[in-house]
Amino acid sequence: MIWTIGGGKGGSGKSFITANIGICLSKLGVRVILIDADLGGANLHTLLGISPPALSLSDFMKRRVSNLCDILIPTSIPNLQLLSGAQDLLNASDAKSVQKRKLLRAIQGLEADTTIVDLGAGNSLSVLDFFLMSDGGIMVVTPEPTAIENTYRFLKSAFYRRLRQSVSSYPVKNLIDGAMDRKNEMNIQNPHDLIKAVRRIDEEDAERIIEEVESFHPNLILNQVRSKKDIEIGFSIRSACQRYFGIHLHYLGYVVYDQEVSHSIRRRRPLVLENARSRAAQCITEIASKLANSHPMSLRI
């Protein structure tokens, strides 16, 4: 099972949530590999209290290491291994698509019950492809307009990229590219308009798009919530996504704003180990249980 954790905005807590969910799952007996795919700003190792590793993804991408397993770093936590992000490669985020495809295949071939990939911020094609290749893409968002705006931008990009990959005809691919721009000449304002327009070109592709829409189920975690109203935003986002995209978004849960989070990060000690009774740690544990329950066969208790 491969989960990717992404979302449009930097600082929304993706790495923090990745590290702590990974630990919770490993404590449940799940063999977990955490991958830091934030190729331009990797710091998952810091959140796990590990010094910058000697070998990282950049060694694999620069062919200094041929097998991804060779750069896996064991941690002090049983069942948990880390694959660190590119440390010394300033332009790693601009990796060539051939390299990225190779990396995707290698990740899919890793031996683990659960692999959690921490994606970088933004909507670059690498991030979108990683998000889409997983069994479950999770977006982490804070209840702020800027974060929500970026998340929708990210979701739109992932959504249209997924649709584009599903169709065969080039005129339809071009139409989808055009639809990304709201001021497009075809007056396609939303996915409903797009399907109508595609149907006029290619009936089969229109059906394929509908199938893709119905099978696309991204997940959402709201981070740093401070009130009941903030928690409800998750349900409202789910409703809005259903109405706008026609997709069913799973609201996995929320993590409350908690000073203990920043304390644990400063101490470079994961929250769920440092202060498992804190409110934020309890929220993360609940989310991790939900993920574990989504594939109970892999539990090794």
């Binding site: 409800e232 935003i233 409202s236």
Partner: protein
């Protein structure tokens, strides 16, 4: 994947076709909150025109479904309940911690997006629309029907001290599926405005 024009009123309010009046009331308030112009959840996603269209559809759906007679007519003409719209309960967050009595559980909440003042008259209207009598509320909340009547009648001189009234209003709101905090705030706002009016006479 249906456009809003093609959806049933139940789909628009995101409720089961077998929903009770109380569930419809709650769904309506949730929908109003979600598609409120200032809602964070729709920020940057919909155009103004789309928001207006959604809001109008929500209001129309509620108007029809909250009234028993008009709902019956609508059901007969639009629904085959046995294979009605696909419906999924909002279970994700509750499923995370089934044992915990979630203080922040979604189902325990209801929202009112507008600046509506929950005066006694409003509460009575909502209760009657839902079809619950005062006796049932009294049994559920353990509040005497007399106090509930005075709250609805806005019998200011008979209402108990503020601290008790707050508690009564909270329980009453919960039994109607309304947001307790908003009801208390709304009712007290009404009381204070009423007092101002009286003193200015």
């Amino acid at each position: 994947m249906k456009q809003i024009e093609e959806q049933t009123y139940y789909e628009i309010l995101e409720v089961n076709p077998h929903a009770t009046a109380k569930e419809i009331q709650r769904a309506y308030e949730n929908a109003k909150e979600t598609y409120h112009r200032d809602s964070l959840a729709i920020y940057s996603l919909f155009s103004e025109e789309e928001v207006n269209k959604i809001q109008a559809a929500i209001e129309e759906s509620y108007r029809v479904l909250v009234d028993e007679a008009s709902r019956k007519i609508y059901d007969q003409s639009h629904l085959q309940i046995s294979d009605g719209p696909k419906w999924e309960q909002p279970v994700e967050v509750q499923a995370i911690s089934p044992k915990k009595k979630a203080p922040l559980s979604f189902t325990d909440l209801s929202i009112n997006a507008g600046e509506e003042i929950y005066r006694g008259k409003t509460l009575r209207e909502i209760r009657e629309r839902i079809g619950i009598d005062l006796k049932a509320i009294s049994t559920e909340t353990k509040i005497s029907t007399k106090y509930l009547e005075w709250i609805e009648e806005e019998a200011l001189e008979k209402l108990p001290a503020a601290v008790y009234l707050k508690g009564f209003l909270k329980s009453y709101a919960q039994s109607l599926g309304l947001d307790p905090q908003k009801v208390v705030e709304g009712y007290f706002k009404f009381l204070s405005e009423n007092r101002k009016d009286r003193s200015s006479l």
